[in-house]
Amino acid sequence: MEEEEAGTMVHTNFYCHLGNWGILKKLEQWFIPISMSPWKLGEKAALQALKANPYVDMIVVDGISLLCTDLQVDPQDIVMLVVSWHMKAATMCEFSRQEFIGGLQSLGIDTIEKFREKLSYMRSELRDDQRFREIYNFSFGWAKEKGQKSLALETAIGMWQLLFAEWHWPLVDHWCQFLQLKHNKAISRDTWSQLLEFAKTIDLQLSNYDEEGAWPYLIDEFVEYLTENGIVQRPQN
């Protein structure tokens, strides 16, 4: 294992295992070494990480742009979210070398063509209920800021609009409007995950909604908002 100075790309034994992958060349392009930007990892932590694990390069914004161009896909395309999920990426707009290589291996990708082909498979994964739920719940942790517990409202709204374009929920726009009017704060993980359950199980007349059930408070308020503003006529029972 050759060690090099911090800040440069590190070739390791790891590469020897991969052998002559055509992708190797591309990898070198995509992997832009990051310096120990404190806002990414924290200086001390980064130095320690580097000492312990030389694999600490990341693909960040520019690298992702390049990656998307090569894959012939829009960086805003939801399929990138699915890719991130496969790679178990910790944060959006970043892949660590470990995440990325690991993801490629588990997907069985060793050429660009194969990567492109896999994309349509990944799109289809969104149709599967269970898969969609996993990806939806994953995206909370992925989209939020590192070190924060909650997801900033604007980011959340963006994610919801992206996700509910795939799995259509008619009330998504009202939901986002409601949040901007009445809540204006970050979204908790519990609210995030329960919203999907709400969208999946509660009918559009809200007739099977139980206020005394275990729904998060914010969703209770949303239901109130819908009924008070006449957006939904709840059947009287």
């Binding site: 909650s150 908790s188 995950s193 329960q194 359950e197 005394e212 275990a214 998060p216 408070y217 209770d220």
Partner: protein
């Protein structure tokens, strides 16, 4: 010589019967009341022996069976030829009398005949499983006489009963005897009594009382109606004792009660002029007690009354609330004195309402759970509304404060005070926001203790004991701590005085007394960067040096806003001692060095905020005592004003207290309580989940509500706290069942 055994000559039936016939005839004559001496022993034996001998004969002279048949014939003959005719054309009372006699006679006849024929019982009857002699006699009477006459008899009896009900005198003894026949005819079973008499009797009773009641209901008031009910029930019970069979008792009373009370119960209770509500209102204790007794016997009776009662109390209480609200909205906000008076009146009137109702519940309603509950729920309904813009918890605190402070508007004897405090604490039992009460009480208690306004320390401790009894030690721990602090402060003060004597160079030359408050017990006071007048700084220094000699490792934070000061003011004509707060004293001391000071100068020299400065200056030149003059001379403070010492001030008294109006900290207190509630709910939820590990949403909420005694939690609040705990990873949702929570260790 052989003796020939004497074989008795066989008795022929007709021969034998003669003797028996004689006996029968004699007996009939006795029964008819004809002059005839009673049977002698010999006569009896003769007949018995004759029968005996006839029975033991061998065939063909064995006439046992014939005797048995003849026995029955004799009875039947008597019945058909004598008994039945005697009853046939009789009616009513005459019929009854005759029947009683005939039945009695029959029993006698049966008794004697059985004795005569008793040998038959020994072998013949047993061997052939035939009805006994008694049974035969009895069956004859029943089938021939009883069955014939029972209809007429029943009608006669019932008619007599109705006559008695109507007020006439009847022969009760006769009825008793007749009714006994119905019973005895059943030989152990009550079937005949029930079917041939009781059933119809009950029906007739029902229709009798139904008629009566339909009349009464039109003319009688509720109380009078109840008297009538009581009376007729009493009479019917009496009837049972005197001539009906005991088993009819409950059924009869039930029937009567149904017709007279159940049918009309709603109408009676809801009667506008004299119904339940009116009786409660007019406090008609006797009528209410009667009503309770009567209605406790009918289904739902007490339930309905308790609902009327609850509604009534709620309405009365709500009227008091509205009264207070009206006064508050009619007066301007500044006239707090008048509003305060109305608040006092409100609490006092609520206590009076409670006092008025306790005897109703305890005596008239015999302390029944339904009524205790009704009273409790009614009070809970109206005592948990906002009154005149304040929570009732606050009003109750103010009421207590008035009683406990010196110069309060209530003047009472020692005993009376104990009672009043007891009643006030009692009211707290109905108020949900008990934690709010504690917080407001703390504030008032602090003022009483620190400004020496408490009338009597014993009362202070007494009310705390009562509160502790009602709500537990945790409820009053802070309050008790405050009172204890005052006792400790006195000791510390004594030690301080000693210290000053021993260390004369530390003596500031001004009398200083210090009260040390334990943080946590007392309400939190905001500290400020107040500039202490230099005259006082030496005082503070002295104490600051002394205190560590008493105790270690304690940090002192000075709260000057709570201090008081006695300051001598030399006016042109007089010297007067002014009792003021430390802040007010600081303002006045500024004028020792300057004749005139502007608002901003005062503010910067004292380093206080506008709100405080305005209040201080107001107290010194716009209220009762004008210690300072102000330009311009209008009654409000503005930041352009200029102030000067009013040397021309005079007053009759040598010593006056210049009050500083208190800031209304209601909003702050509500905030504090709200914040505390979040912690309390969190702690409760965690406690529950820790012990149960897994629990569903509804159960968690229910248990939480049950466990929280100090306030009634808002369900939304609990839900929010649950979510917060999920966020903080104390709990998680189950992945399968979204209604289920799991405790995360």
């Amino acid at each position: 010589m052989k003796r020939k055994r004497a074989v008795p000559k066989p008795i022929l039936f007709s021969e034998g019967w003669e003797v028996i016939e004689q006996g029968v005839t004699k007996m009939k004559r006795i029964l008819e009341g004809l002059p005839e001496p009673p049977f002698t022993c010999e006569e009896y034996m003769k007949i018995y022996t004759r029968i005996h001998d006839m029975c033991i004969q061998r065939s063909p002279h064995d006439t046992t069976e014939k005797l048995y048949t003849k026995y029955k014939e004799v009875i039947m003959e008597y019945i058909t030829s004598v008994v039945l005719p005697s009853l046939k054309d009789k009616h009513d009372e005459f019929l009854l009398r005759e029947l009683v006699i005939r039945w009695s006679n029959h029993k006698v006849m049966s008794k004697w005949l059985s004795r005569f024929f008793s040998y038959l019982n020994r072998f013949f009857i047993k061997r052939n499983s035939l009805p006994s002699l008694d049974e035969v006699a009895f069956t004859c009477f029943r089938d021939q006489v009883y069955k014939e006459t029972k209809g007429k008899v029943k009608d006669a009896v019932i008619s007599l009963i109705d006559q008695e009900r109507g007020g006439e005198q009847i022969d009760r003894g006769l009825l008793k005897n007749v009714i006994e026949i119905f019973v005895e005819i059943g030989t152990g079973k009550m079937d005949y009594y029930k079917n041939d008499f009781e059933e119809e009797m009950l029906k007739e009773t029902a229709s009798y009382y139904s008629r009566k009641a339909s009349n009464w209901i039109l003319i009688e008031s509720f109380p009078d109606y109840m008297l009538k009910v009581e009376e007729c029930l009493r009479k019917e019970k009496d009837r049972v004792v005197h001539y009906l069979h005991a088993t009819s008792g409950p059924k009869l009373i039930e029937q009567v009660r149904h017709e007279v009370l159940c049918v009309y119960s709603s109408q009676l209770l809801e009667n506008e002029k004299s119904g339940c509500c009116v009786l409660i209102q007019e406090h008609k204790v006797d009528d209410l007690s009667r009503m309770y007794k009567l209605f406790s016997k009918i289904d739902d009776g007490l339930c309905r009354i308790s609902q009327i009662y609850k509604k009534h109390v709620t309405v009365e209480g709500t009227i008091l609330v509205k009264k207070a609200d009206d006064v508050a909205s009619n007066k301007e906000a500044e006239k707090r004195v008048v509003v305060g008076l109305q608040e006092q009146t409100f609490v006092r009137e609520v206590i009076e309402l409670h006092d008025k109702n306790m005897p109703l519940v305890n005596d008239c309603f015999q302390n029944h759970t339904l009524f205790r509950k009704a009273l409790k729920e009614a009070f809970e309904i109206f005592l948990n509304k906002t009154v005149a813009g304040s929570s009732t918890a606050e009003l109750l605190v103010n009421y207590c404060d008035n009683i406990l402070k010196k110069g309060g508007s209530e003047k009472h004897s020692d005993e009376a005070i104990e009672q009043i405090l007891e009643k006030a604490v009692n009211l707290l039992g109905y108020i949900y926001d008990k934690d709010l009460f504690v917080e407001f009480y703390r504030k008032k208690l602090a003022r009483r203790l620190l400004f020496d306004k408490s009338a009597n320390e014993d009362y202070e401790r007494s009310i705390l004991t009562k509160l502790k009894q009602q709500n537990g030690a945790h409820f009053t721990s802070k309050l008790e701590g405050m009172v204890t602090d005052m006792t400790l402060a006195r000791e510390t003060q004594a030690d301080f005085k000693e210290y000053l004597q021993c260390n004369p160079r530390t003596n500031p030359g001004i009398d200083l007394s210090v009260t040390v408050l334990t943080t946590g017990f007392w309400p939190s006071y905001r500290s400020s960067d107040f500039h202490l007048p230099f005259e006082m700084t030496k005082c503070i220094q002295a104490f600051t040096e002394f205190y560590p000699t008493k105790t270690n490792s304690r940090k002192l934070t000075w709260i000057y806003s709570l201090g008081t000061c006695n300051i001598t003011a030399k006016f042109e004509l007089q010297t007067i001692e002014l009792i003021v707060t430390t802040y007010q004293a600081a303002v006045l001391l500024l004028f020792n060095d300057s004749n005139r000071l502007s608002y901003s100068e005062i503010m910067s020299q004292l380093n206080l905020v506008d709100d405080d400065v305005v209040r201080l200056l107001q107290s010194l030149c716009c209220l009762k005592y004008k210690i300072l003059n102000k330009e311009p001379n209008i009654n409000s403070i503005s930041s352009d004003d200029v102030f000067a010492f009013n040397s021309k001030f005079t007053n009759k008294m040598r010593r006056i207290k210049i009050p500083l109006p208190i800031v209304d900290e209601k909003k702050k207190i509500l905030e504090v309580v709200d914040k505390d509630r979040k912690y309390v709910v969190d702690a409760c939820l965690i406690r529950i989940m820790k012990s149960r590990k897994v629990l569903n949403h509804q159960q968690l909420i229910t248990e939480c509500v049950e466990q929280l005694k100090v306030f009634k939690p808002d369900l939304k609040l609990i839900k929010k706290r649950i979510e917060d705990l999920i966020n903080r990873e104390y709990l998680e949702r189950d992945s399968e069942n979204l209604n289920l929570y799991r405790y995360l260790a």
